[in-house]
Symmetry: C2
Subunit: 244 residues, 2 copies
DNA sequence: CGATATGTTGAACATTCTCAAGGGATGTGG
DNA sequence: CCACATCCCTTGAGAATGTTCAACATATCG
């Protein structure tokens, strides 16, 4: 069993918070210099390979942390073997839950992924002394809750075509949130997952994903560059297809 | 437009926190006497009729609060008119979001519903002075997030039959959380919604809901007493059908 | 180059939806 | 008390979206 205590990858090179790519989006976003010093002293970078298990449902969680680079997913495995991807962890997202010992879902790295981790005990004590971090965490949790509820609409009320469009728009928008560029300008997204994993996330089959990607390419809304890289020539058009 | 500032129902009779039905499940669960005094001074009960709108998406939210009795739902309305119920507010659930002015979703009372409300400004200042409440709120938000993610599996990977079973088990389990009784013992649940609203929540059609309820009755897992009251003679059996 | 993993396309099938009709409770007015 | 209206629910038959099963294509990597 692999978890945060047993990274299989070589120890990640650790950077200063000053030039952190997620400095102003993550749990530390509202920290002042003094708060940051506390976090900086406690942090440890961890690196995971694609497909590597970061946590398993029920595991003791000794660490919490932020996704720095890469992507991971939360998986809900059912007793009968069926599984559903119930969340995506992209750079700046927080992993772990203060006040809860065991993981609720499996967490799997989708691609090469770096985490900025804090030992649970250390993080909890920083939380106590630094209300700003607790507030930020609450805010992020409520954002995630809103996103998860909005995703219910994607799974529940959208057609296969709309789901695929919604998925690409979500990736595009998350990139724009990090780089601040124009949301309507053409862009290139790198897919963090295989067709099969997309199918899992969108509650479709791999075949339907494939067919709908082909269809959207035919409509000029997606322009595959390679299997994992896709150009979006017309984000507003794609957003319209995504519908809401 | 109706919202928390304009309840159409007569002013609700207000009770002391001491004999509150959700005293130990709501946001105030971990409050000591002194914290409770602060909340008690700021609280106002509100009552809503079935079908009444409590909030509309985008509304300014001047109040936050807990559901005391009844049930309400969070609705996500899409531009094309399709809608999806993205959450259920049952007794003890919290409504509203500190640090956010506008509502993300519509909130509609499903049945006669009482809320224990606090003016946003007052609540925010209590939050600041009472870290226990902030912690409890974070904990509840993370519980809701987990529930919402688990519901993704219901919508995404379950058959109509499994969805119906999951729905009844969810209601049964929420009742058991409030009354502490045995989760495996036969019980009677009161449905807070019509077949059409159930369909909306489960992402099915009213017709499919009706057919599957009939089928589960045939299997001895549901025993309708009236349209809105159903006996569950065999919760473990129903839970098995719900599957995960 | 051959092997394995990943992605695409095709055709038959199944679950659920849509459209349509009818049943049963409750309420209102005559 | 009955006729009628309304709302909610149930049942049926055909249609449709997405699935399943299967073959084939493409890519990556030893």
């Amino acid at each position: 069993m692999q978890n945060l205590r047993q990274p299989l990858q070589p120890r990640a090179e650790q950077h200063a918070c000053g030039d952190c790519p997620i400095r102003h989006q993550a749990v530390c976003a509202r920290c002042e210099a003094e708060d940051l010093a506390l976090l900086e002293a406690a942090k440890v970078f961890r690196r995971y390979a694609p497909g590597q298990s970061i946590l398993r449902a029920g595991d003791r969680m000794d660490f919490v942390g932020s996704v720095l680079t890469g992507a991971a997913c939360l998986m809900h495995l059912r007793p009968d073997g069926r599984s559903q991807m119930v969340g995506l962890l992209l750079p700046s997202h927080f992993l772990g839950r203060p006040g809860r010992d065991h993981a609720a879902f499996d967490v799997v790295a989708l691609e090469e992924t770096e985490l900025c981790c804090f030992r649970r005990a250390a993080f909890d004590s920083i939380l106590e002394r630094t209300p700003r971090i607790g507030q930020r965490l609450l805010d992020m949790a409520l954002d995630e809750l809103e996103a998860s509820r909005a995703w219910l609409t994607v799974l529940g009320r959208k057609t296969a075509r709309e789901k695929i469009a919604s998925y690409f728009i979500m990736l595009h928008d998350h990139d724009r949130r990090l780089d601040g560029a124009d949301r309507d300008a053409p862009s290139r997204v790198t897919l963090p997952m295989t067709r099969e994993q997309m199918a899992d996330h969108l509650d479709l089959t791999m075949e339907t994903v494939s067919r709908q990607v082909t269809a959207l390419r035919g409509d000029g809304l997606l322009q595959p560059v390679s299997a994992r890289v896709v150009d979006l020539p017309d984000p507003p058009g794609l957003r319209a297809v995504a519908g809401g």
